[in-house]
């Protein structure tokens, strides 16, 4: 995912001189350094100073630039919610926050580095749009879309490389992608949980349950129609690498409870901090694997 982001930045740099990138001592890791090696005078590495970096991005944007700013999700938004709110979202400017290392799959670094509250925080800020791509192709496409769509964005990538979800595919902000059709149950996921959802649907099929799989990469703005449609199946399982409070599951429940009440099972981190361990071990321990989705889906069929 990160390499795909770096490649997209390099492509964008070539077609638009106003693209600038701000980093915070993690440019090698989040691959914004790829942009820096092509366009050294358009990459600003501000050091370990996230609130400074994000505010400098705001200044660049106010002066007419399209400013991407990237580091680990733990620290943006972690360190700088006030700056994001008041210097970026409120003036509604062209700062594109793209973070990596979202969720538990950060792994051995442990809880301090496992960001599981960001979707809730960013979703609550007016003007901010929240995007969680599922694989490298999605990252590439969405980086381009985010660059060419006016206003602030928060896009969250994961640390591990993801299985391929999209050979090709259309992406539109505010539109979910239905990756697999099904009428018994719907699974709505984002990020690394999308491949888990697809695997779960395959297992469910073998057990005679037809599951629809929806990639809700655009958590805000949200695709109400697709969710309302999904609510016509027997129930919805939501899956995210995020606290169960305030993230994708909550966003889906907000829509269904208002427009088409349906039973929902939310899969996410159950309001606790993560811990050290390999990404896969953690996803298993915290109940975020295909088998856990299968179990919840079956519960809804009862």
């Amino acid at each position: 995912m990160r390499t795909s982001y770096g490649e997209a930045l390099v492509e964008l740099g070539a077609i638009n001189n106003d693209i600038v990138v701000v980093g915070a001592d993690t440019t090698q890791s989040v691959k914004s350094a790829m942009f820096g090696s092509k366009y050294p005078n358009r990459l600003f590495n501000i050091g370990i100073a996230e609130s400074n970096a994000i505010s400098i991005a705001a200044g660049l944007a106010l002066a007419g630039k399209i400013a991407f700013v990237s580091t680990y999700a733990a620290f943006i938004p972690g360190k700088c919610v006030d700056q994001i709110r008041n210097a970026i979202a409120y003036p509604n400017i062209n700062v594109k926050i793209v973070v990596s290392h979202g969720g538990l799959s950060v792994g051995p670094d442990g809880a301090s580095h496992q960001q599981i509250e960001d979707i809730a925080i960013m979703r609550a800020i007016p003007n901010m749009r929240v995007i969680v791509p599922a694989d490298a192709t999605a990252v590439k496409r969405l980086t381009h879309i985010v660059a060419s769509t006016d206003g602030p964005f928060y896009m969250r990538l994961a640390r591990p490389s993801s299985p391929i979800v999209y050979e090709d595919g259309k992406f539109e902000i505010g539109k979910a992608n239905i990756l697999r059709d099904g009428n018994d149950i719907s699974i709505i996921a984002c990020g690394l949980m999308v491949p888990e959802a697809l695997e779960a649907a395959e297992i469910l099929k073998n057990e005679g349950i037809s599951a629809r799989v929806i990639d809700l990469f655009s958590i805000k703005p949200i695709d109400k129609d697709t969710i309302i449609d999904a609510a016509k199946t027997n129930g919805i399982v939501t899956v995210e690498e995020h606290n169960i409070y305030g993230g994708l599951g909550s966003a889906v429940a907000e829509v269904t409870s208002e427009y088409k009440p349906v039973r929902i099972k939310r899969i996410g981190v159950d309001d606790r901090f993560g811990e050290s361990g390999e990404a896969d071990e953690l996803l298993d321990k915290y109940g975020l694997k295909a088998k856990h989705i299968v179990n919840k889906a079956k519960d809804l069929m009862k």
Partner: protein, 271 residues
């Protein structure tokens, strides 16, 4: 006090334990762990009043590892001091381990959950204020990375410590000149660092971070200083003790392979 010879021995063993733990974990931060070994050895085996058998002893001195990614260093020190068995180090960063990738209060001897840089000095200021409020003698020590000083919050805390005349607070800066993306003076220059702290009205001491005489004298002088906090700028080498890791930014956050470990321990550490 342990003899200088003994302190040197502990330092040597600490380097070995750090490398073994990080290699076993397959990830972690060797560079910034190796760079501050002598500083922590002097704190835990010379200066600080603490009791490994009673980690929550009320009158203990407190140590804050603000650069929390140097957890392998702190864990190796705590294990040798007797807070927990040395064998625990093999579980570093593994699922279910007491030794999390970054310090966590579940581990005996840990005072602060580090990991997000830039916060520790403020927390140390809060602790030092509490010690003063209660008329206690216990002191607070904090180790900060040099790259970490780029966080604005550090300077907010620096002002607060002076306002409240926190002479019970000693900060040590691991001035190894390297952060994650490269050299500090390229990424975001810190110099003149001594003058910065002086202008914030701190008592500033600069030392060679590997000379136990310097370290001990500086820690003693900090304790004798009244009415203001002391910062010790310790000149260090990131990756100290392993020639190919020294001054090499790429060893900031990368584990050596387990297979080459015996060779490193023999040839680099002289075991």
């Amino acid at each position: 006090m342990e003899s200088l010879l003994r302190l040197n021995e502990i330092a040597k063993n600490t380097r070995r334990l750090i490398l073994e733990a990080v290699a076993e974990a397959g990830s972690g931060h060797p560079g910034g762990s190796l760079s501050a070994v002598e500083l922590l050895v002097a704190l835990y085996f010379y200066k600080m009043r603490h009791d490994p058998k009673n980690p929550r002893w009320n009158d203990r001195d407190r140590f804050i590892l603000s650069k929390g990614h140097a957890a392998p260093l702190l864990y190796s020190i705590l294990a040798q001091a007797g807070y927990f068995p040395i064998e625990e180090l093999k579980t570093l960063r593994k699922l279910g381990s007491m030794l999390q990738g970054h310090p966590d209060l579940r581990t005996p001897g840990i005072e602060y959950c580090g990991g997000s840089e830039g916060i520790g000095l403020s927390v140390a200021v809060g602790m030092a204020l509490a010690s003063k409020l209660d008329n206690k003698q216990w002191r607070v020590y904090a180790l900060l990375g040099d790259g970490e000083l780029q966080e604005g919050q550090v300077w907010e805390a620096a002002m607060a410590a002076v306002k409240y005349k926190l002479d019970n607070l000693t900060v040590i800066i691991d001035r190894n000149g390297i952060q994650q993306d490269g050299f500090t003076e390229n990424i975001m220059p810190l110099e003149p660092l001594n003058a910065k702290w002086k202008s914030f009205n701190w008592n500033v001491i600069e030392i060679d971070g590997y000379n136990f005489n310097h370290i001990i004298r500086a820690l003693d002088r900090a304790e004798e200083t009244i009415n203001r906090p002391t910062v010790i700028i310790a000149h260090t080498t990131k990756g100290k003790g392993v020639s190919f890791m020294e001054w090499a930014p790429e060893w900031h956050g990368k584990a050596p392979k387990k297979e080459v470990l015996p060779k490193i321990i023999k040839e680099e550490l002289g075991y």
